[in-house]
């Protein structure tokens, strides 16, 4: 039966894994992700989740186990955070290069040292170029729906999908979450039937030596799959709205139609930003909000349409690409490149290592953007 449950973000991930019909789960505990796999293990034990749970000795092994299981055609899930995701890095490339439909939940955790278990996006953004789809979540319901959508997208595109949620703000905060019944999503989650799935009747060696020309063609196809993903994500979002009456696609726009200034944010900071936007609107300032839900593939065309009429764009980053700027800031500027009359873009970094991003922080960003000339670097909001 579908119904609402009081779930933390991590519990929402686990319930979605169960409802999606995951068949193999392999993971290694790390804060703040641990309660995901603990809950999955409990659901497996209660036979609510019918997956084989494979305990392993490291995150590298966890993803290796998922790669093997996925290659054999199993619907496969893992979860990690911070250093754990970094340890998976080598196999992140493998999973995407082998075009395997693995779903991974990353609970954003700051990278050590200094040792810090709280939220920022440098762990997931360090995996930017591995070929994984990356979807960022704002609240418990979005976590539930995005994990289910990840299981729907992965086999259609033969791409691995990472679902990203903020540590503690989301992972450990409970909200009422509608949990769809298995029957409500079953038809949206197809089996994976790519020809390179292991077939005992037709033995093959996989991942063998490939000359340069063929290799680059395979990589071009990987890039192409991401372009297809843009449409697939929007199609699925449309189906979701039809069936459940909720949910966004590549972006979630709020009060953008007539906005002169547009804020760009992601994750739980988008909730705070929305409240700031509503407050400023009430005082007559025409501000809007774009929440970037899909980071890979990056929704360049959609973003250009949304931002083209604005007079100013302000990007909030809970991350930093050291030596450059905030990552979302870079991506937004790149998306607007060559667009005639494109608005200036201002970048601000706030909330690293789980530091609070308050309405005051966001208002300070908007004020400084209004007062200062745009710069290629991000501005650190450290007060």
């Amino acid at each position: 039966m579908s119904g609402e449950r009081l779930l933390t973000g991590n519990e929402a991930v686990a319930w979605a894994v169960a409802r999606a019909g995951a068949q193999v789960v392999s993971a290694y505990p790390i804060t703040p992700q641990t309660t995901i796999i603990e809950t999955v293990a409990q659901l497996v034990q209660k036979e609510i989740c019918r997956a084989e749970f494979v305990p392993v000795e490291s995150e590298h092994s966890a993803l290796a186990a998922c790669i093997g299981a996925a290659q054999a055609g199993a619907r496969t899930f893992t979860a990690t955070s911070g250093q754990g995701l970094a340890l998976m890095h080598e196999l992140m490339h493998w999973a995407a290069g082998a075009r395997l439909p693995i779903v991974l939940a990353d609970v954003n955790r700051a990278m050590a040292p200094g040792w810090n278990i709280w939220s920022d996006q440098n762990d997931s953004l360090s995996q930017r170029d591995t070929g994984w789809i990356q979807l960022y979540c704002e609240d418990g319901q979005e976590v539930m729906d995005t994990v289910l959508q990840a299981f729907a997208l992965a086999p259609r595109l033969s791409l691995p999908v990472m679902v990203v949620l903020d540590a503690f703000f989301l992972s450990h905060t409970a909200e009422a979450v509608a949990v769809p019944d298995e029957g409500e999503v079953r038809d949206l989650i197809p089996p994976w039937e790519a020809p390179w799935r292991i077939d005992l009747e037709r033995p093959a060696a996989l991942g063998s030596l490939v000359p340069s020309a063929e290799y680059s063609e395979m990589r071009r196809q990987l890039a192409e799959a991401h372009r297809h993903a843009l449409g697939a994500i929007e199609d699925l979002a449309a189906t979701w709205r039809e069936r459940f009456g909720r949910g966004a696609g590549l972006l979630a726009c709020h009060a953008c139609e007539d906005a002169e200034e547009i804020l760009v944010a992601s994750g739980t900071a988008a909730s705070t930003a929305r409240a700031v936007v509503d407050g400023l609107r009430a005082r007559g300032r025409p501000v809007g909000l774009v929440k970037v839900r899909t980071f890979r593939p990056f929704p360049t065309e959609t973003l250009r349409k949304v931002l083209r009429a604005a007079r100013r764009v302000t990007v909030l980053d809970r991350n930093c690409s050291y030596g450059a700027s905030g990552v979302f800031f870079q991506e937004v500027r790149a998306a607007l490149y060559g667009l005639p009359g494109a608005p200036p873009v201002h970048g601000f970094i706030a909330g690293m290592g789980g530091r609070d991003v308050t309405p005051t922080t966001i208002e300070a960003a908007l004020s400084r953007a209004a007062a200062e000339a745009p710069r290629p670097e991000s501005t650190w909001l450290t007060e």
Partner: protein, 561 residues
């Protein structure tokens, strides 16, 4: 898409290139063996239990066969090293168990428990080795303890004409005169001795060297003579009045009790000593209703007696006083009435690694005793042994005369005596002709001398299986009679316990190497189990790492094998 003659595929356009690389052809063309700078060596190591066994038993193989329920084959393995498993399963201090790698996990194997059950079953099923013809020598064995009996048995199995001489009327030596029935039931001992003699050993009892026999005549009469005289001359305490009435020698006391003679009078007994003889005297006299105190000159942990024996004696009610040095026997009306001691403290360690007892001046004390048993150890009785064969209190072999067992200064346990007897028999058979029924079992199956210690093992591969305990008869009841103290395993328990053996250093055909080899280079079914295909093995060493038992080594090419 075109398939080229060498098997490669050529795409005519980019559109033909699939998203991932797959190869449906064989990868056999990829001769990864060329990369090899190291290679595996499939060879067994010596298990720690076998390395520790003074009798030279292949403990792992005997446990394997017991675990598989193959009684007759297990019997052939054990009897080719030790004709007395039912005895050693009861009286050996089992160093095998002390070194068992399973002790690092959930508890060492009860090897003696399995050995005893196997030994009893072999007697019940009348399993024995078949004599081989061929040996034509005539051999005299002097002494029918475990060393002499073992040598005579194996010599007779090789077809030699063996005469076994003993001081006592009956064979058994120390096994019968020195080990009381509550530790070794007479029926068990007699059945194994009888089986040992059955291949045609001619037994001559009541014939002592230097009294009824002389070495020169034996030399003339026989092709070879084996001296297995044991050690049965009491070491003296070296204190005043130790020859007084009421003072007896421990080994003589046990021998008298074995012969059915009455025990000397005395209700309050002090036994001076800390070895097995001292404890056997104490427990035997306790069983006759006496009150017994054992007085030892060092600490309890320094006692040469087996730990189990000390624990069982205390459980039965024997009192133990330690760090007491005897000073003198005191008399009343010409008979022992007490022993005077001086207390001692631990001093420097001696050659045995134990602290030397240092008397504490002014700490003299008395223990009342109307019977004093002196059991300070036993030495060689050299009667009848020519001086040129004696050195440092031991008998040396020379020419056609060999020596074995306690008299040759061996390790002092029954298992040592059995091992020496077997090796002496093999040596004589090598000289006199015939086929030896005993082989070095470990080298026969290609095991190297290096011991498979716990660091060689991969404990993650072994499921927990805690040992099963064997009970003892109730101490309050057993102190009144000769019932066997320690319970044995039944057949099912023995099989289950044997199945706990990790087979350290020994290939069991588990297939781990075969499964884990990334190049499919491990070949099954080669002689001895596995081999590697040199055209495939790239020397990665995964098989070596994943062998649960350390039965695969890694060798540098061009280095030593």
């Amino acid at each position: 898409m075109k398939r080229l003659p060498d098997g490669r595929i050529e795409f005519e356009s980019a559109a033909e290139v699939p998203p991932v690389a797959r190869s449906f052809g064989s990868t056999a063309w990829n001769r990864t063996g060329d990369w090899r700078s190291r290679e595996p060596v499939f060879r067994d190591l010596t298990p720690p239990c076998a390395a520790a066994c003074p009798a030279g038993q292949d403990v792992v193989d005997q446990l394997r066969l017991v675990a598989q329920g193959r009684l007759r084959e297990a019997g052939e393995v054990i009897l080719s090293a030790n004709p007395f498993p039912a005895v050693t399963g009861r009286v050996c201090p089992h160093p095998c168990q002390g070194t068992c790698n399973r002790g690092h996990l959930d508890g060492a194997l009860d090897v003696p428990g399995v050995e005893r059950a196997l030994g009893d079953a072999l007697l019940a099923e009348r399993v024995e080795l078949v004599p081989a013809a061929g040996g034509g020598g005539r051999v005299a064995v002097v002494g029918a303890g475990p060393a002499g009996l073992t040598a005579a048995h194996y010599l007779a199995l090789s077809g030699h004409a063996v005469t076994l001489y003993a001081r006592e009327d009956r064979p058994g030596g120390l096994l019968s005169t020195g080990i009381p029935p509550y530790r070794l039931p007479r029926a068990v001992l007699e059945a194994e001795v009888e089986r040992a003699l059955r291949p045609g050993v001619r037994f001559q009892g009541g014939r002592a060297l230097g009294r009824d026999l002389d070495l020169e005549s034996l030399r003339r009469e026989f092709d070879a003579v084996l001296l297995a005289l044991g050690r049965h001359r009491a070491r003296r305490l070296g204190i005043p009045r130790e020859d007084a009435p009421g003072v007896v020698d421990g080994l003589a006391l046990l021998t008298a009790l074995h012969r059915g003679e009455p025990a000397p009078p005395g209700e309050q007994v002090v036994v001076v000593g800390g070895g097995n003889t001292a404890l056997d005297c104490a427990r035997s006299l306790l069983r006759l209703g006496r009150r017994v105190t054992v007085a030892y000159r060092r600490g309890r942990e320094d006692m040469p007696a087996f730990g189990d024996e000390v624990a069982e004696a205390l459980e039965e009610g024997v009192a133990l006083e330690v760090w007491l040095l005897p000073v003198a026997v005191r008399l009343l009306d010409g008979r022992a009435s007490s022993v005077q001691f001086v207390r001692a403290r631990p001093g420097d360690r001696d050659a045995s690694g134990r602290p030397r007892p240092v008397p504490i001046p002014g700490s003299e004390c008395l223990l009342l005793a109307d019977l004093v048993v002196a059991a300070a150890g036993e030495g060689l009785d050299p009667t009848g042994v020519p001086p040129e064969l004696l050195r440092d209190g031991a008998v040396l072999g020379s020419g056609a005369v060999l020596s074995a067992g306690d008299c040759s200064g061996g390790g002092g346990t029954v298992a040592h005596a059995i091992g020496e007897g077997r090796r002496a028999a093999a040596e004589l058979t090598a000289r006199l002709g015939g086929r030896s029924p005993t082989v070095d079992l470990l080298s026969a199956r290609g095991a190297r001398g290096e011991v498979a210690g716990f660091d060689r093992m991969r404990p993650a591969y072994f499921l927990p299986a805690p040992p099963r305990s064997r009970s003892r008869a109730d101490a309050a009841e057993r102190r009144h009679d000769q019932r066997e103290v320690r319970a044995g395993f039944d057949a099912a328990e023995a099989i289950a316990e044997a199945a706990r053996c990790l087979a350290c250093g020994t290939c069991t055909g588990c297939d781990n190497c075969y499964q884990f080899c990334p190049d499919r280079a491990v070949v099954r079914g080669a002689p001895g189990g596995y081999a590697f295909d040199p055209s495939r093995c790239k020397g990665c060493g995964v098989c070596v790492e994943e062998c649960p038992r350390g039965a695969i080594g890694l060798r540098e090419l061009g280095g030593p094998s």
